[in-house]
């Protein structure tokens, strides 16, 4: 039984279906990556798991509980964290305030969690009084991930976390993500940089036209000649 699973998800934003019977699952401490061509429904699949669109068919289960009907805010309360692709920080608020907002739903003392985030992203501790809007792209992504971590989620979902950042920053970010996974959090990522993402992935889902095309470990997918040819631009 997977920790988080979206089974046979079918649905869209009101018009035609974007997802067609797609299944995505991730275990605790595992890194699962969703890749595929543009328009394949990668982000849509993740949004469906988070409850930002309603499914015509299929179900979403977290730790055995059916959460298909829950709103995104409720899912946050259940332990899901979501890092959107864009507009994922409060630009006019300081780094520390962003983290505070991340912990908004918590009633206990979250100083400990904040220290953990600072340990994970040391540069944020340095810049914690600065407005998030003044940081570089890579640093902002760190703030965005840090914000999501403040609720101590059991699952962390990231929508194209390395979009628009330089390769060095991307490597750093992936290193951090591996560290986060090591603490036992399930990680689900949608990525355009398929090669680098599959490199660190325990499980990879290749989506085409809203359905599962290939599902395997990251290594296996990287070695798969068809996958390499079509999505990784290799031989």
């Amino acid at each position: 039984m997977s920790f988080l699973i979206g089974e046979s998800m079918t649905g869209g934003y009101g018009g035609a279906d974007i997802l067609n019977g797609c299944t995505i699952a991730v275990e605790r401490g595992e890194i699962a990556v969703i890749v595929g061509p543009n328009g394949a429904g990668k982000s849509t699949a993740m949004k469906a798991l988070f409850g930002m669109l309603s499914l015509r068919e299929g179900a979403v289960k977290l730790d055995g509980h059916d959460i298909t009907k829950l709103s995104p805010q409720d899912r946050v309360a259940q332990g899901m964290g979501f890092v959107p692709q864009t507009h994922n920080v409060f630009t006019s608020m300081s780094v520390e305030e962003n983290l505070e907002m991340g912990a908004f739903l918590r009633t206990d003392d979250f100083k400990g969690t904040m220290e953990q985030v600072y340990a994970l992203f040391p540069i944020l501790k340095q810049k914690r009084k600065q407005p998030a809007g003044q940081l570089s792209g890579g640093q902002r992504q760190q703030v965005a991930v840090g914000r999501a971590l403040m609720t101590q989620p059991k699952v962390l979902m990231l929508d194209e976390p390395t979009a628009g950042v330089s390769p060095i920053v991307m490597d750093e970010l992936f290193d951090r993500i591996i560290e986060i996974a090591r603490t036992g959090i399930a990680i689900l990522m949608v990525e355009q940089n398929a090669r680098q993402a599959l490199n660190i992935a325990d499980k990879g889902y290749v989506l085409v036209q809203g359905g599962n095309r290939f599902t395997d470990t990251g290594e296996a997918l990287m070695a798969n000649p068809e996958v390499r040819r079509t999505f990784l631009g290799g031989k």
Binding site: Q73, F104, L105
Partner: protein, 337 residues
């Protein structure tokens, strides 16, 4: 030296002190408008008449207190009545949100629909205030009228010109400082205040963080009603209460908010003073001042008044247009929805 000081006194009495008081009133009015804009994302044309409503309640309660013999000499009795005014205005404002704006939020109506709705509310409030209290001028200030009188000041300093510091002016400035400090403390230091800033900054992310939109909306209206009542009462104590004048204040208040940067509280305050000082500076007759400060032969003949006071609104308006043309986001960049 004497002449210079005299001139300075003149400037203070007729320009600096009144402009500071007026600026404080505008700043508080603009704060109410800018908060609603930043969080509810529309321009509330009913704000002027909300101020009138709040002031009306204060006046009625003040009259009651005066009859009961309550007094806090030398301060005006109206101060005691302000909490009641705030309470009544808050109820009215929350009620109108529930009846009018909530539906529009639910159907995600365009900002212009909110604007039109606020115009409808403006009509209703306008009529209601006139209905209850009439259209005449109301003077409800009591207590000591001056903190220091013209004559007293002259005696103290021995100059020809003095400064008359009205209680209402002093009250306005002190209250404005307290209110603004409280507001900023709330926004910067409390969880609720930060949640409002977050909601204003990035609505979707705020919702994701679990911030309750309805709660934020409610707090915004409460603060807006409070600011409106206080600003309106201070203005009324200073210049008298007449329902029509509060509608006319819409223009300088919005000008202040826009000049400072719509949606930015600091901007609202800065804008308030910019507008107030500009209005007073441009319409002041400098003849006497120049007579003090310039050598005899240069003493002016005419009034040396740039614009007559009837064109006060033209000043706020021109500044507004200039800002909109050359720096639309305002002094402190606000948001444009």
């Amino acid at each position: 030296m004497q002449d210079f000081l005299n001139g300075f006194m003149l400037l203070s009495n007729f320009l600096i002190v009144p402009a500071t008081a007026y600026g404080s009133q505008l700043a508080m009015g603009a704060l109410g408008v800018t908060l609603v804009y930043g969080i509810l994302r529309f321009s509330n044309f009913a704000h002027g008449d909300t101020m009138a409503f709040g002031t009306m309640v204060v006046i009625l309660v003040t009259a009651l207190f005066q009859k009961m013999g309550l007094s806090i000499e030398p301060l005006p009795t109206a101060l005691l009545a302000i909490p009641f005014g705030i309470a009544a205005t808050t109820v009215m404002v929350l009620l109108s949100d529930r009846l009018v704006y909530r539906h529009q939020r639910k159907v995600r109506a365009a900002p212009v629909v909110f604007l039109i709705s606020s115009i409808g509310l403006m009509f209703v409030l306008n009529g209601l205030v006139r209905f209850i209290i009439g259209t005449g001028d109301q003077r409800f200030g009591d207590g000591e009228r001056f903190i220091i009188r013209f004559g007293e000041f002259k005696e103290l300093t021995g100059l020809d010109e003095g400064i008359a510091f009205k209680t209402s002016q002093g009250l306005t400035i002190v209250t404005a400082i307290i209110v603004v400090a409280a507001l900023f403390w709330f926004l910067e230091r409390t969880r609720a205040g930060k949640s409002m800033r977050a909601y204003s900054d990035n609505e979707d992310l705020a919702l994701l963080s679990g911030i309750s939109p309805e709660r934020v909306v409610m707090i915004t209206w409460i603060i807006s009603a409070t600011l409106a009542t206080i600003a309106g009462t201070l203005y009324g104590l200073d210049k008298g209460f007449k329902p029509f004048t509060y509608f006319q204040l819409l223009l300088p208040i919005f000008a202040a908010a826009i000049v400072g940067g719509l949606g930015n509280p600091l901007g609202a305050i800065a804008g308030g003073f910019v507008i107030a000082f500009s209005e007073v500076t441009v319409t002041y007759a400098y003849k006497k001042l120049l007579t003090y400060w310039l050598p005899e032969s240069w003493a002016p003949e005419g009034l040396v008044q740039l614009l007559s006071t009837d064109y006060k609104f033209a000043v706020s308006f021109v500044i507004l247009v200039l800002v909109l043309l050359f720096r639309p986001t305002g002094i402190f960049a606000g948001k444009s929805v």
